[in-house]
């Protein structure tokens, strides 16, 4: 076992003998879904580090009251860039990256339905991220050199009007969101078309791996949600340059209209980000519990229900706007209803663990932490959905803590889990379990120091997006704890990045199926050949590899 020394190659590396230039050409011109997936992931990791550093700078500033570490203008740019980057240039690309890599492999296809659209979508999204950061060099236009946008990640009107945002920093924000939206639409279309048209023999919709089902629903939500966002960006550009008055309140425009446009995208966006995290959990929890997922039809139904309901809850971001008691009651109800399908998911994961044989490998550790943290995030979400409670908690640090519990505690934990689980498939090498456990425990402690304690200043009246605060408000001790946790998370993330790099060269050889798993991607070599499957596979159940390994008692008897 230890005698195997040949370095595993990323897909395509072997076919690029012409040195560095040929290698770059190979990656830039590729239409292979696996390479595009990996590029999405690497690109997102790069921005994860950038936006993480922005978070650390903010936490230094807020560690003590009346701090002067950064200027107010700098702080406002930091939270704008942190939010925009994390949502559009970390969350979306990393999840699309895994989707790109996994969906064709899991349905027994050789590639996505539209490989060239796939490459286009990636490159336009990548360009959008660099365009956003180019504002640091050129954002002020004729007013001076560079400033990043400082309007907040949801860029409420009329702060984005030219009178309040002179220069071009807001235009960089608008255009980068517009372009990344085009990329996201392209990839969503591709995933839907691939899932519907490219399945192998026997892969009926009722046999789709749950991951693919969830990516299908995510992509459908993305269609509906990203269109109004794109429309709003164009309307904003018309306001800023062609004399329109959609959001220009000084000429009779409406600030509330922008809020509707933004949040009818913004809330479904939460589900666009969290459904892939659920998708990873649906694959990883059964494998490490050694049991089939409990209630597959219920999981699919719950996902589709979440998809529909998520389109009708947006105004819970607007409970303090003065929509009136009728609208507040309606959106309270629709938001609370979403707890039912989400609850079904948690209970089904619980039932999958029940009676299993749970192995605590690193992917499973992250998945278990995800279950607890998502439970808490869901419950604080219920609190926020009760609109009078939201009149107090909205726009406070309680909300910031709540959505970071979703984005970090649920989504990022599942992304880490997915890395440990599928990295062997992508590179042919295992990530170090020892480093992985250090990463897990350090990150877990840092996460809870930061985001558990972040709820408290919110309850004590601390609004979000303030660059400093008064010493007499009783917020100082909590902010200090929150900031210290942030650094622990940063150290853990560095360990993770080190693990990714080190294991690429020195990790144990993975083999095709290191986790003794059941879906089709584990039936091919690690990394898979560029054509994925030499012959089209045929499946007869949801777990084709289980049937293969247990011919005496295949799933086909029970489905």
């Amino acid at each position: 076992m230890a005698t195997q020394t040949s370095a595993p190659a990323l897909p395509g590396q072997a076919s690029a003998p012409g040195g560095f230039f040929a290698l770059v050409t190979e990656w830039v011109t590729t239409v292979d879904h696996k390479k595009i997936g990996i590029m999405y992931i690497v690109y997102a990791l790069l921005f994860l580090v950038v936006a993480g550093v922005e978070a650390l700078l903010m936490r230094i500033q807020l560690a003590v009251p009346n701090n002067h570490f950064v200027a107010p203008e700098t702080f406002n740019r930091l939270f704008t860039m942190h939010g925009t980057t994390m949502v559009f240039f970390v969350g979306m690309p990393i999840l699309f990256g895994f989707g790109n890599y996994l969906v064709p492999l899991m349905i027994g296809a050789r590639d996505m339905a539209f490989p060239r659209l796939n490459a286009f979508s990636f490159w336009i999204s990548a360009f959008a991220g660099f365009l956003l950061y180019f504002s640091y060099f050129a954002g002020s236009g004729l007013y001076g050199a560079g400033t990043a946008p400082d309007v907040g990640w949801f860029a409420y009107a009329p702060l984005t009007a030219r009178v309040f945002s002179p220069g071009h920093s807001t235009d960089y924000w608008t255009l980068s969101i517009l372009l990344s939206g085009i990329g996201s639409l392209g990839t969503s279309l591709n995933i839907v078309a691939t899932t519907l048209c490219m399945r192998c023999k026997g892969m009926k919709l009722s046999r789709l791996p749950l991951l693919v089902w969830l990516y299908l629903v995510t992509s459908c939500i993305a269609f509906v949600a990203i269109s109004p966002l794109t429309a709003a960006q164009i309307m904003l550009l018309i306001d800023r340059y062609l004399g329109g008055h959609f959001f220009d309140t000084q000429a009779g425009g409406s600030a509330v209209l922008w809020m509707h446009f933004f949040w009818i995208f913004g809330h479904p966006e939460v589900y666009i980000l969290v459904l892939p995290a659920f998708a990873f959990a649906n694959e990883i929890i059964p494998v490490f519990s050694r049991k089939a997922i409990f209630g597959y039809p219920a999981m699919v139904a719950a996902t589709v229900a979440i998809g529909f309901i998520s389109l009708g809850v947006w105004a819970h971001h607007m409970f303090t706007v003065g929509l009136g008691p009728g609208a507040n009651a309606f959106f309270t109800f629709s938001t609370m209803v979403i707890a039912v399908p989400t609850g079904i998911k948690i209970f089904n994961w619980l039932a999958t663990l029940w009676g299993g044989n749970i192995h605590f490998a690193t992917p499973m550790l992250f998945a278990i932490a995800f279950l607890f943290q998502f439970l808490i995030a869901g419950l604080t979400g219920i609190m926020l959905s009760a609109s009078p409670f939201d009149w107090q908690l909205g726009n406070s640090y309680f909300v910031v803590a709540h959505f970071h519990y979703v984005l970090v505690g649920a989504i990022l934990f599942m992304i880490f889990s997915a890395f440990y689980y599928w990295y062997p498939k992508m590179t042919g090498r295992m990530l170090s379990e020892k480093l992985g456990k250090w990463h897990f425990w350090l990150f877990l402690i840092g996460f809870h120091l930061t985001f558990d304690f972040m709820h408290i200043p919110g309850l004590l009246g601390m609004p979000r997006r303030i660059y400093t605060y008064e010493a007499d408000r009783g917020w100082a001790i909590w902010n200090l704890i929150v900031s210290s946790g942030a650094f622990l998370q940063a150290i853990a993330t560095l360990l993770f990045v080190y693990n990714l790099v080190r294991s690429y060269f020195k990790g144990d050889i993975a083999g095709p199926d290191p986790w003794d798993a059941w879906t089709l991607e584990w039936s091919v070599t690690s990394p898979p050949p560029s054509y994925n499957f030499a012959t089209e596979p045929t499946v007869e159940s949801r777990r084709p590899l289980w049937d293969l390994k247990h011919p005496e008692d295949p799933d086909t008897n029970y489905e």
């Binding site: 107010p72 702060l159 050694r290 089939a292 008691p325 607890f372 107090q392 609004p463 100082a476």
Partner: protein, 361 residues
């Protein structure tokens, strides 16, 4: 305990606050039987802006609802997290386990139905309770003795207009206390002069956004005299962080005296004629109003009775001669990004105009 010593908000309030105003800042009495309120009243959670220390009806009804929601969510957490923890410990892989896979269970419609129906019932109860509070607050009948105040959000300060009393002031809102037997709540009509803001004084009520081209109305009825603190809760630009609010709940006698004083004409003190000269010969009058004079500017706070206030720079520093001088010299000394430009006065003029402003009691 030693950790929380410095957190006592009362110690750090500006010295100008008279002791009688401080009562409201003490933690709520430990009369609630529930564990959570008791915990939140402990010293480490002490804050003048604690949402769990309500002092007016809207904040109280939210507090009641929040305890109910917290109790339900807490119970759900204990049950589900307990089950998860049990499953993880009970069904963990042990070294001596055989390699045989555990029995495969694919699902059960009865079980699925039960964990669908139970949450539905919980949600219906939560929704009905919440809706009651929504309508109690937003559809409350308006008592005939209510006071009207127009709140106008500016980058980065608050303007308060009392249309029926003819008073205009800034950043420090005076309202009468409201006796439950004869309620005299204050109705705040919210407007914005520029960007979005949000008016949030946690111990009195939930926040209400202050938006351009949209008029919102909220009400407060503090029962105890005191100072209630808050701040802007919707990002509005560079100095969003220092757009603080102070609400003074006055006894009827205090409030009547305050109204009478604010309605009196601006003080004209011959001793500060030089500073007055500086004020009226500079750009000050373009943005500020002093009633009864040629200063009619509307972009900055009304200064007619500036020296009757406890703070300047939207509540960020106490009004002292030195602070005022520093602020006039360059507002960025306290609020970088404030829209008032540095006035570039020489020391002599600066001292003179500071003296004049301090005479505007």
């Amino acid at each position: 305990m030693s950790l929380s010593m410095n957190l006592d908000p009362v110690q750090n309030l500006p010295a100008a606050v008279p002791p009688s105003h401080m009562q409201a800042l003490h933690p709520p009495a430990l009369s609630h039987a529930a564990f959570l309120p008791a915990l939140l009243a402990t010293k480490i959670f002490q804050s003048p802006t604690n949402i769990f220390a309500p002092e007016a009806t809207p904040a109280q009804s939210i507090f009641g609802l929040s305890l109910f929601v917290l109790a339900i969510c807490g119970s759900v957490f204990l049950v589900v997290a307990g089950l998860l923890l049990y499953a993880i410990i009970r069904f963990r892989h042990r070294p001596h386990d055989s390699d045989r896979e555990p029995p495969q269970i694919y699902g059960s419609n009865q079980v699925e139905l039960s964990w669908t129906v139970i949450p539905v019932i919980i949600i219906v109860v939560l929704f009905l309770t919440t809706t009651r509070v929504i309508f109690l607050t937003e559809h409350a009948p308006r008592p005939k003795d209510a006071l009207d105040v127009t709140v106008i959000g500016h980058q980065f300060w608050w303007e308060f207009r009392y249309p029926k009393l003819g008073i205009v002031t800034a950043n420090e809102l005076h309202v009468p206390v409201s006796d439950p037997a004869h309620p005299t709540p204050t109705y705040l009509t919210m407007e914005s002069a520029d960007t979005d803001h949000s008016f949030w004084v946690p111990s009195l009520a939930g926040k209400m956004d202050v938006l351009p081209n949209k008029v919102n109305i909220m009400w407060i009825d503090p029962e105890k005299p005191g100072i209630y603190l808050g701040q802007c809760a919707q990002y509005c630009g560079v100095e969003h962080a220092k757009m603080l609010i102070r609400v003074y709940a006055d006894t009827p006698a205090q409030f009547a005296a305050w109204v009478a004083h604010q309605r009196s004409p601006a003080v004209i003190d011959p001793a500060v004629a030089e500073g007055r000269q500086v004020f009226f010969h500079n750009a000050c009058i373009d943005c500020h109003t002093i009633q009864g004079t040629a200063a009619h500017g509307i972009f900055g706070p009304d200064l007619t009775h500036l020296a009757s206030r406890d703070t300047i720079a939207s509540g960020s520093v106490p009004l002292t001669p030195n602070n005022l001088r520093l602020f006039v010299d360059n507002p960025a000394n306290f609020k970088p990004g404030a829209l008032m430009p540095p006035m570039h006065l020489n020391d002599h003029d600066l001292n003179a105009v500071t003296k004049y402003l301090l005479s505007l009691r």
